[in-house]
Symmetry: C2
Amino acid sequence: MANDKQEQASMKAIAAEAGVTLSTVSRILNNKAEKYAEATRVRVREIADRMKYRPNALVHAMQTGVTRTAGVMVPTEGLFHSQILTGIHESFLDRETLLLLSWNSRTLNKKDDTLERRLIHQLLDRRVDGVILRPSCEEFESSYFEEIWERNIPLILVDREMKNFKTDFAGTDDIAGGRTAAEHLIGLGHRRLLFIGVGEQVSTSRGREEGFRQVLSKTAKARGNALNFDEADAPQRLMEVLREPQRPTAICCYADPIAENVAKLVMEAGFSIPGDLSIMGFGNQQAVSEIPRLTSLDQKPFMIGQIAADMYFDRVYNKSQNAPQRRLIEPVLLPRASTSTPKAKAKR
Amino acid sequence: MANDKQEQASMKAIAAEAGVTLSTVSRILNNKAEKYAEATRVRVREIADRMKYRPNALVHAMQTGVTRTAGVMVPTEGLFHSQILTGIHESFLDRETLLLLSWNSRTLNKKDDTLERRLIHQLLDRRVDGVILRPSCEEFESSYFEEIWERNIPLILVDREMKNFKTDFAGTDDIAGGRTAAEHLIGLGHRRLLFIGVGEQVSTSRGREEGFRQVLSKTAKARGNALNFDEADAPQRLMEVLREPQRPTAICCYADPIAENVAKLVMEAGFSIPGDLSIMGFGNQQAVSEIPRLTSLDQKPFMIGQIAADMYFDRVYNKSQNAPQRRLIEPVLLPRASTSTPKAKAKR
DNA sequence: ATGAAAGCGCTAACAT
DNA sequence: ATGTTAGCGCTTTCAT
């Protein structure tokens, strides 16, 4: 009862069985064999079938230097990221390319990149043709990627850009999204706005805040402030802001999970949504929760994934030499119950 | 401006540079070299570092027959499946094993398995050590898996079992879940129940319905029926059932997406939830929607993934010879707004 | 129409 | 303390 992985039938075995040499088998099975006798061809093929021969892609890869395998470092947690992955996969499906998946699920936004490096090594050692990656932190030393870069292995970034690094990138048009959000709230009649992000270091938060501010700076109608929800005292700070007489009547959060937290906090503090306070998020990824259905912006993550895959193919197999591309998807507003005209139910 | 993938430094190159032989380099870099002169060791290591040497895992795999790579055929769409994937990944992260990912995202529940076979070939050709797979259809000819099976490559099934196939399986305890659901509704006071599934062929639907019926058959209090939502006229059939004088007051759907559809339908037909009709689902995967927060059962998909990964390691690297295991996770009820005492707001 | 042999990057058994 | 050699599965060049 041997259970070791069955000896996979090799060309050598087929050759022995057929009474020909290895090279004969190789040429016939690879259709590089116009010269062979019909009988030989049929016999070899028949034996290969019977022995359930399957080519060894490892050997092929070793010889040609091409694995038809992409290293993919993208989270699978949450709807947004798994949609990106789904988009990548969908594009790969018809191109005979597989995803070698592994991402840092442990240390988000930490500057320590030891795990990341280990994962990159695992991918590189397996000789992936290229890498698609969502940085778990945007502030790593540039050395983070050097290992990939120096080997001339194409690198495509998704969702988040790196500060000091110029590569292909597919992601959200955060500035446009920030603008859309501000315009939505101002359009509803709000005059005092608040943007809640996670600080300057995260490009998506930064970009959305920038778009948000752009609109405010161009209109006299409304004004606004920003708050960093990553700081420990953020909840208290938020409450202080909301106790001011000239408190904001609408909040735009840089992402839905933050918006959900904020919504819970303010509801506990006695505010009604959207009556007293409109709240919106980004990403269309609200979980089932007690709070009203969240106005949000759909970032089209599936499309982002597909675009990243296209960029990958262009670099890896078309050997494109163009300057690094930057392809941004404009997010789409989904107005829902959590935003409305200010004080809809109050005095006015 | 050559852009071809950089020649990765090889041991051969290091040997040349260091003026020693290949085997010297091999032994030193693999720490099988107590005998070597300190000077040689240091020099070789130093040169390897300088040349950014990385071992070629393809070659290693070819020689040893072990790739430390698992073939994973699990969908990434939706919270439930991506949680399974996340669980698998989490378990693999510390075990130096990578996921080669590819699944049939095209043909759900279709008996045609050509795409599936292609994907399996892609995995097999890359010599994965084992396969974790969620069947896209439970009714394939057994030949579907034969290719994996015959090669003695361990196969772990997740989420759905195959009818005629005995392998390791990690999934939901559907019967227990069905019971829990029925007990929840009866406990709330409902006496006429309806189960909405997708027919006999899908094991998860079948199991949940079975558990549901078990409870009904053991009590005189309540009775119930079932409806197959996969049939084209299901919506009409549902409406007919709801127009009967003795109509059900509570519906259990075999999965949340179905529950959402059903909820929309009945709300459009003028029923209120949960006032006129309690509705519940399975899987805790409700999307943002107009309907009330759905009572559901959490199937713990992350745990399912982790268990599958454990089974994988047991078979693949511990060479476990035990009979196929069947590990079921009992789902946990999450009572929410969509279910309540019958006619809470009506006459009674 | 087919065989022989070198080589891909590396390990391991066998020298010296 | 280090070198030589065969071999893993296969492709390809060079014979015959």
